[in-house]
Symmetry: C2
Subunit: 329 residues, 2 copies
DNA sequence: TTGTAAGCGTTATCAG
DNA sequence: CTGATAACGCTTACAA
């Protein structure tokens, strides 16, 4: 490994001078600068970030904590975060928490041990002591503790929107899938949906689910059809659940959207490739990731912040699992 | 931040002794150990990994370089890597390369600057100078330079398998989607498929594609149907492409699998949730990630290695886009 | 069994 | 404008 010392020797200057030129700090004569730059190039030198980090007590590293990257909603988030961080030369230490508080704790712990300058976390425990005592900025994704910076979509409004649209299109015996109880955004969606359904004076049924995993999602679809076979509209807790419902509906010979409409949540990329295409409430995951990264960067750099809560809009994406709306609305 | 010095002071010993107990190295009297352990607990001390890394010239970090985490095949890989690394207390610095050599170079560069002890890379440029000059172990994913450790599935065999199965099930006018030219595994699949089709004495058509992106994939599906509308079997370059073909086939009123069979590649999790379910050649992505991580750990720890090339089996997953096979095979 | 001190590669202070 | 040097927090000879 070539160090600043090697460069200094080759250029015939002190390490201090080399440091000055690579950091563009302080005065250094044009000639000396050139000598140093040549030495740097010749030795293909690049500074050891670890040594820097030790001295400055801060790195160019950011911690990213997600429940499960294998869950299709998160890769887009991650990509958004990464792209934005990349622009500012920050790197990501990444971990899956599986919504387990202990795992989160462990990760945050090692983040700190590695001098990360900030963390982005999609957690169910934003009020955990883990975060309270953190001396570096945290941006929460999809969670909105009042006092902490966060980026989120309006889940409640998403739920309302889903209900309104499915009702507008004629569903009357609606089943709402209530996502895992410990996942706040899932509950928000659920409550929003219930709210709108009630407002319309309709009744509804609920299927309770306990995870977003591919393995389980078929079970709930089954449960839905065996319990509420006469349902003519399903508001799913996310697109994966919606896919499972669609799959099962088609399997048992229901026509979608004629016999049953389905609305998902998230608008994961493959939703448009289903047949029929999945109507869904879109959350702009990639953008959310970018925004979270941008916000964190500002926090880290102590730049002025207009608003520490960034809410991104949800929107209804009309595809094939809902009927065309009547012109009279 | 509490340091080893604080602990030493509180325990009334030297930093060396503290170091000994937290690293369980060298002799330390039971009584002293207890004092130190209490101080550690009381101060909630955990060692600064950056300082460690600087001294030892190696961290507990490994670099993971993937083309694009937003592409559904990779999250599973990533998850496999992460889970395995986690077990050994390694952390991941993660980057998306977009199959761009320069981006890769930049990432590898910063990996090194951060003292990572190894890297896992899914790259199209395994022979690039980037990797040749690396002094830390690299495990390639999905690429198999002869001399370097790698984990991969047998793409060629996968291609053969796809062709055999689709032919066995009666397709005669087969169209093969040839993935992006610069992506080796895609070409392997393609060649394997061609090989088996030729062997069967059949003709075939080719649709050339240039990316695996969600945005483009619909275009090739369109192209396929407009150019080769009489095709009765499609071997797609991956599941996303297959989904697009299925989608388009259904849209224009073709019956799948009756009029046209489709076989994908990868077996991404949502493949089973399509309607009909997507028949595909499975690559065990999660396992590949785990294996790569396991292999890298051995390399890093200089443990003996049986085989530096780990090939995982591909298999045909029969679902609804292929017909049931005749009992006579 | 324990402590002292050098060293890991940088940056920043301070003197020249 | 440049160079010595202390310091960042830790590990490890080496000495005691």
């Amino acid at each position: 490994m070539t160090t600043i010392k090697d460069v200094a020797n080759l250029a015939g200057v002190s390490v201090a001078t080399v440091s000055r030129v690579i950091n563009e700090r302080g005065y250094v004569h044009a000639d000396t600068r050139k000598k140093v730059e040549e030495a740097v190039k010749q030795l293909n030198f690049s500074p050891n970030e670890v040594a820097r980090s030790l001295y400055k007590r801060k790195s160019k590293l950011i911690g990213l904590l997600l429940p499960d990257i294998a869950n299709p909603y998160f890769p887009q988030l991650a990509r958004g975060v990464e792209d934005r961080m990349q622009e500012q030369e920050f790197r990501l230490i990444f971990g899956n928490s599986d919504e387990d508080e202990q795992k989160e704790k462990d990760y945050i712990q090692t983040f700190i041990q590695n001098n990360v300058v900030g963390v982005i976390s999609s957690t169910n425990y934003p009020h955990s002591s883990i975060y309270e005592n953190l001396k570096i900025p945290v941006v929460f994704l999809d969670r909105t503790p009042l006092d902490s910076p966060s980026v989120f979509a309006d889940g409640r409004e998403g739920g309302r929107l889903a209900a309104r649209e499915i009702i507008k299109r004629g569903s009357r015996r609606i089943t709402v899938m209530q996502g895992p109880a410990h996942i706040k955004p899932a509950q928000d969606r659920f409550e929003g949906a219930i709210e709108s359904i009630r407002q319309a004076g309709l009744d509804y049924r609920v299927i309770q689910t306990t995870s977003f995993s591919f393995n389980d999602v078929g079970l709930w679809a089954d449960e839905l059809f065996s319990k509420y076979g006469d349902t003519d509209g399903v508001i799913a807790s996310n697109d994966i659940a919606a896919m499972a419902v669609l799959h099962e509906a088609l399997r048992i010979g229901k026509k979608v959207p004629e016999d049953m409409q389905i609305i998902g949540f998230d608008d994961i990329p493959m939703s448009s490739l289903l047949s029929p295409g999945l109507s869904t409430i879109r959350q702009p995951a990639y953008e959310m990731g970018r925004e979270a990264a941008g916000l964190l960067i500002k926090l880290v750099e102590q730049a002025p912040i207009e608003n520490k809560h960034i809410q991104l809009p949800v929107s209804f994406i009309e595809r094939g699992t809902t009927r065309k709306v009547n012109s009279d609305g």
